[in-house]
Structure formats: structure tokens, C-alpha cells
Amino acid sequence: MTDIAVRVDNVSKSFRMYHERNQTLKATIMRGRRSVHEDFWALDDVSFDVPAGSTFGLIGSNGSGKSTLLKCLANIYQPNKGKISHFGSMAAMLEVGSGFHSELSGRDNIYLNGSILGMSKKEVDRKYDEIVDFSGVEAFIDQPVKNYSSGMYVRLGFAVAINVDPDILVVDEVLAVGDADFQAKCMQKFEDFKTAGKTVILVTHDMGTVSKMCDNVAWLSHGKLLEVGAAEPTIKAYLDTVAPGASE
């Protein structure tokens, strides 16, 4: 595979840390337009390519910039510098059940959530049975989702999101949902994804998942890219810094 699905090109992202922020009109008027802040670079000149058809993992300790990078990939944040280009349609799953309305039924919420995630009504119609089937909440599909257990809620959200069926799927730590049975189903779904030649980019702290699923891994630390390459050696290098000898 030499095709590239996503190219991250010298991407930097900074956030302003406000010491005194003009969040009220009074503050703005009193202090003029100035607000006191310094820049915090959450991502510093990160570049890598994600090969098409592979599963790509982002690893690193808390605060290393994984989620920021994911949000840049998902087109939620705009990088200050650099460019992210993707070849093929892209969907992000940073949270499941975004935009669910608790008073509406599961059925209504499938359509609502589907359209928030960019599916047309026709597409949802077509995938409706599959979504309901995957979520395993058929019996309660006409009940308002506020009556769902948290597991059912998350499963329904996940079922909609996974059925968006993009070429490139960006996933945050949402795999840890549902019971063992459902997790196995999710894993199977990701396998299917891969067989279909789709690309998955995921963030997780569970090294087991990473080594099981990912072909390539990028290791971030304090906003900088330390290593990118085949999964096993990169994971090993990362674990060695966290707890030397632990990966043995």
C-alpha cells in the first residue's frame, strides 16, 4: 500500500492561556482590546502520513496533544500552521450520541444523529435496520432515549456513528463502551472496515488494543512527534519511557 489516506503536514496548534480574559463587556471596555495571554503549543510541527487501508494509532501520555490532533483531523479545530489533507470522505467519532434529544424516541434520534453526522435521510433509511440490529435495542426503539440505560444509549450512538461508513474514520477513546459482547461486535466492525480497505485513525490508552488493531503508530509527547512507524517497535519504545522494562 503506497496510497496515502491522510497527510498531516507541519501542523501546529496553539491555545491561548488567558491570565486575564476579557470575557465580559466591562472587562473589555475597562482594559481596551488587550487581554493578557500566552500561547501554549499543544501541537508543534507534527507531520506524518497515514497509509490508506491501514489502522493508525496515536499514542502518548495525557496532555501529549493526541486529542488536539484528533480534533484537527476531525475539522473541529483549525491548525494555526500547516495543513491536513485527506483523500476520501472522513468521519469522526469523538463522542457517541452527540445531539441526542432525551425526550425523543430512539428512532427519531437515529435520524437526528445521522444527519448531524452528515448522512442523508435516504442513507439512514437504507441503514436503519442495520443500525438498530447492531445496537441491540430493537425492543425499545420507540421509547424516549432518556429511559435507556447508559449502555443502551451509548450502543445506539455507536451504532449510528459506525454506520456513517466513511473512507477514513477518526475514533477517540470510545471503544470502551458496552459489555464484552458489544465490544467484540465493535472489534469485528473495525475488522470489516479494514477488509473493505478503509482507514481508521484511533486514539487510545489501552496498549493491548493498539497492538492488536494498529499497523502503524505515531507517538506524541508534549505536542511533538517523537516517533512514527510500525506498531510494535513504537509501542515498545513508548512503554519503555513510561515504565522501563514493562514491555518485556
Binding site: 480534533k71 473541529i76 483549525q78
Partner: protein
């Protein structure tokens, strides 16, 4: 042009979010959609008692319709006003209320304030339908004016949408906006000839002449308020049953276009930064 295309492609999302607002709003209430009438009716009752009964405001009878009922005369302007106030207030809060969604999903953000315009339109249509029935019962002849009524309703919705877009962004950066807005809308209501006829302003204006030794009269300043013109057109069509001045139409149209244009420009230049700013 690209932006227009993007908006067009998210019209299905807009429809779904509007439906979410409509369906979710009166869910689990006994009276359901009737609640949409409760607020204007309560206001009507209060204003009728205070202004028609105690303070004795006497608007001219409808010309040529001959209608002479204060409560109905009031509603003809009050319903458009409450619609406007609803759109502006809920629109201003729309981005903050959906902060979670904005930070987790990438979609055309403009549908959030616009979906509230949509759900308010739905409620407003319901209220206006009731008003039309009442008008017909008491002897108004509104049916021929319906097409024009639709036009002015559209213009007011566009005007309100533009303001809502501007305020939704302002509210993200300055949370004071929503509190200011409550006060401003209250003042704005009294600066618009809704509970008193605009002829009272003309009288006062003529009595005082130019302000501070200039040619600028009270009436001139008063007419800078766009809602004055919208209300005038609504009353002409609904209560008087006559063709409003062409200038009034033009003023309303210009305000609507300018408001939407500025609203979209402000929204567009800020929407990419929303996820961080919230």
C-alpha cells in the same frame, strides 16, 4: 458561493434540528402546542387592561376595514413582535446551548441558530392562523391580503435571523449579551408602536419640532427603528386591510437584506473558531 453550497447541503440537517426543537419543546405538557398561544394571550390581556381600560389608549378604527377592537389591534403587532423577540433570544443562546455538539462534531454551525428561527416560525404560523380566524370572525376581510402577509412574514423572519446570527456569535465571546438582550428587548418593545398607535408619536413630534435646534424631529429618530415599519405593514394588512405604502415595504426589505448579510458575514468569519472559544 461555496458557503451557499455548504448551507444548501446541510438543509436536511437544518430540517431535522428544527424538528428536534419543535417536537422537544412541548413534549410532556398537557396543553402541548397551545402553550405557544399562552404568552401572547397573557400579554394581550395585560396590555388591554392597562392601556385600553386604565390609560385609555384609543387607536383609530381600521381603515377601510372598520374594525375597532383594541385587543385584536394589539395582537396584529404583538404576534410579529413576540416572534421576533423569541428568535433573537433563543438564537443568541443557540451556540452556547449546543457547546457540547460543536466541540465534538464537525458540521455547518449556522444550522444551530437557523433551526431556532425555523421552530419559531412554526409556532408563529400557528399563532397567526388563530389570529386570522379571529379577524375573520369579527368581520375583517384578510384573505385577499394573505400573499402579501406571507411576504412580510418572510421579510421579518429574515431580519430576525440576521440579528440572531450576530448575537449568537456575540454571546460566545461576551456572555453579558444574553442579559443585555432582555433589557434591550423590553425597551425596544416600547419604542415600537405595538401597544400605542404611532399617531401619538407624530403628535408629540409636531409639538416639539426640531430637536436641539436642528431639523431632526422625534418622528425621524423614531422611524430609524426597523420594527416600526414592520409593525406598520402588519397592521395595514391585517387590521386595516389595505395596501401598505411602497416605502414601508422597501424599508423592511432593505433592513432584512442588510441584517442577514451582516449576520452571515459575522457568523462566517467566526464559525471556525467556535470550538475553541466556547
Amino acid at each position: 458561493m461555496n458557503y451557499l453550497k455548504e448551507m444548501l447541503s446541510s438543509r436536511e440537517l437544518l430540517a431535522n434540528l428544527t424538528l428536534r426543537e419543535i417536537r422537544g419543546k412541548y413534549k410532556r405538557t398537557i396543553f402541548g402546542q397551545l402553550w405557544s398561544l399562552a404568552n401572547p394571550l397573557a400579554l394581550m390581556l395585560i396590555y388591554t387592561i392597562v392601556f385600553a381600560f386604565i390609560l385609555r389608549v384609543e387607536p383609530e378604527p381600521g381603515d377601510p376595514s372598520g374594525l375597532d377592537v383594541f385587543a385584536v389591534w394589539l395582537l396584529c403587532a404583538l404576534l410579529p413582535w413576540t416572534f421576533f423577540a423569541n428568535v433573537v433570544t433563543s438564537g443568541a443562546n443557540s451556540l452556547i446551548a449546543n457547546a457540547g455538539l460543536i466541540q465534538k462534531v464537525s458540521f455547518s454551525r449556522i444550522v444551530l441558530p437557523l433551526s431556532l428561527v425555523g421552530s419559531s416560525i412554526y409556532n408563529w404560523l400557528f399563532e397567526m392562523a388563530v389570529l386570522l380566524i379571529v379577524l375573520t370572525i369579527i368581520g375583517g376581510f384578510v384573505l385577499p391580503w394573505l400573499p402579501l402577509l406571507v411576504v412580510i412574514m418572510f421579510l421579518l423572519a429574515v431580519f430576525a435571523a440576521g440579528i440572531a446570527l450576530m448575537l449568537s456569535i456575540a454571546n460566545v465571546y461576551f456572555r453579558d449579551t444574553q442579559w443585555f438582550l432582555g433589557i434591550i428587548l423590553q425597551m425596544w418593545l416600547y419604542l415600537t408602536p405595538i401597544i400605542y398607535p404611532s399617531s401619538l408619536i407624530t403628535t408629540q413630534s409636531e409639538a416639539h419640532g426640531g430637536l436641539l435646534g436642528t431639523d431632526v424631529t422625534i418622528e425621524f429618530v423614531y422611524n430609524l427603528n426597523p420594527m416600526v415599519h414592520f409593525v406598520e405593514v402588519f397592521r395595514n394588512l391585517l387590521y386595516d386591510n389595505r395596501w401598505p405604502d411602497l416605502t414601508e415595504w422597501l424599508i423592511c426589505a432593505v433592513w432584512a437584506v442588510v441584517s442577514l448579510f451582516v449576520g452571515i458575514i459575522i457568523f462566517r468569519s467566526n464559525e471556525k473558531k467556535l470550538a475553541e472559544a466556547l
